[in-house]
Amino acid sequence: MTTILYAFLIGALFLAFIRLVRGPSLPDRVIALDLIASTVVGVIGIYAVTTNQEIYLDEAMVLALIAFLGTSAFAHYIEKGRLPWRKL
């Protein structure tokens, strides 16, 4: 059972990593990073259950908040910064 859960999560991380490498624009990579953060939150939840240590759920909570901070900072700099594909 544990193997199946980790197999799906590792597959999801791998697919998101392909998008992170290939992504044609910067927001694509930001979305891939956001998905990787969500997947890692899931990995931490599964790990807390399989090792029977509920203390790891704190890390999941912190990581969910940090991922939001990173994404909103990237969005701010995409909107306000000077990027090569912008027309304005």
Binding site: A12, R19, S25, D28, L35, G42, L57, S72, H76
Partner: protein
């Protein structure tokens, strides 16, 4: 019994996350990828945390797991909206077969104001690069 239900919930959660990653990899457009990411990953993590709640069956674990789900439910739409807004205004191209773009020509990128849908607009002078 509770462990079987918890395992089922976590299996559903990881399948949702895997489908989200598949959508992020396969969909043709930034906005469609964002749609796959936000909804499926949020409900996947929510199901995993619900499985953890049922597995541990403890009030402190319940509080922490529900806090994780609460933060994700609040922050995922906000971050998705921010990324979509900045990507659209910085000129990320839409998919070739997109049928309608209702914001096209109605938004002034320099003054950041929205024009009414009643007044006539000039679609040829839009700054978005699809035109």
């Amino acid at each position: 019994m509770a462990e079987i239900i918890a395992n089922g919930l976590m299996l559903a959660g990881v399948i949702f996350i895997f489908i989200a990653a598949l959508g992020v990899l396969r969909l043709p457009d930034l906005f469609m990828r964002m749609h796959a990411n936000t909804k499926s990953a949020t409900i996947g993590v929510g199901l995993i945390m619900l499985g953890a709640v049922l597995y541990f069956n403890d009030i402190t674990v319940t509080t922490r797991a529900l806090a994780v789900v609460f933060f994700l439910l609040i922050t995922a739409p906000i971050s998705s909206h921010l990324i979509a807004r900045s990507a659209y205004f910085s000129g990320i191209p839409l998919w070739d077969h997109t049928l309608s773009d209702d914001l096209l020509g109605h938004y002034d990128l320099k003054k950041h104001t929205l024009k009414s849908f009643n007044e006539p607009i000039d679609r040829t002078k839009d700054t978005h690069n699809q035109v």
